[in-house]
Symmetry: C2
Subunit: 199 residues, 2 copies
DNA sequence: CCTACCGATCGGTAGG
DNA sequence: CCTACCGATCGGTAGG
């Protein structure tokens, strides 16, 4: 990578590249993220950037990973002390809304952008995005099932239908926020979630 | 354009370009739609393609227009005989689901793809997408308001919240269909809509 | 980490 | 509608 830099500095540079990549990719997509643009933004050479990842696809995979890590810190980690089942499910959704409300990434939800961009393609990047999506939905389903078992949700609740509804609410939030700049988007999301998740 | 072709042939070529563009753009995005790719697919030269539009941006705007026209034929036009208010709203949503179910475009909903791709940018293409979105939602709102006035929806219904919910259901349909290839996506959408729109 | 390249492709133009 | 170009940028490599 760099014959002059220490391991620590190398790691720090990699982090800088990934942070900038997340910001760019959330707004312009994982293809709009070009090595040249990244190099200019960071005041580096293209070869310097690419040296950390080898190929653009490896960079894209690293960015997807970094996005998953960020989401994990922003949502599940923040509510890990909340009791399992319905309370946890409610807390997860609220943390999710709050994450989008705070505009952590300039282009809104990274995974919505990446999923829409790559759902019509093939390859490891698409697979990584779809896989993380599946994992997250499996996690949500677990809490829905627990809530049903505890009697906090009606016994005839269809867990997958329930997750479908939650995902729809979150996709709509991102949509109204990013495309229409609608300041009421988050309160609409919260209202829809309150209706879905009884107190 | 073409000194050898008649006006009719020219119009036909333009139509061919737009049809192919819609297919490409729904799957690969409006940026992934390149002049060279389009020319190869259609067995034309790049200059031949570009001659119909002048610039790529003009082509993109024409594609957005063509997508709006297609959606109009596929959804509102098909249910224009259904009584206004709740019946019409239900028919519109069903035609919308059916449009996505039939996979009219290979990449799913053009506007979901285009909106996600351009919501972080500026310029006439973004404005066109956002404008059409606003128009369509205004149309939906009209029917919601009529349904409320007719007593077919509760008097305390918030029209914008209602539209938010519908949009979420449709976005989730496209999401589960395109990313997860979930064959149950359409039936989930219909179930969610049935719950929202009383019979 | 850099400079200095490479072939391929981008959007677009000139001229017929 | 075509051929034949243009400069700019793409991802990527060689070599230090």
């Amino acid at each position: 990578m760099s014959p002059r830099n220490s391991v620590l500095e190398t790691r720090h540079t990699r982090r800088r590249i990934l942070d900038r990549s997340l910001a760019i990719a959330s707004a312009e997509g994982l293809e709009g993220l070009t090595i040249g643009r990244l190099a200019t933004d960071l005041g580096m050479s293209k070869a310097g950037v690419l040296g950390h990842f080898g190929t653009k696809e490896t960079l894209q995979l690293a960015v997807v990973d970094a996005a998953a890590e960020l989401f994990n810190e922003e949502v599940p980690q923040r509510v890990r002390d909340v009791p399992l089942g319905l309370p946890r499910l409610r807390a997860l959704c609220e943390a999710w809304v709050s994450h989008l409300e705070r505009g952590v990434l300039p282009g809104g939800c990274f995974f919505t952008a990446a999923a829409t961009e790559f759902d019509g393609r093939e390859g490891p990047v698409r697979d990584a995005i779809a896989g993380l999506n599946t994992l997250w939905q499996r996690d949500l389903r677990l809490h829905v099932q627990r809530a049903i078992a505890a009697g906090d949700l009606p016994g005839d609740t269809d867990p997958d239908q329930f997750i479908y509804d939650i995902v729809g609410i979150m996709l709509a939030l991102n949509h109204f926020q990013q495309l229409q700049h609608d300041p009421l988007a988050t309160s609409r999301a919260r209202r829809a979630l309150t209706r879905l998740l009884p107190a």
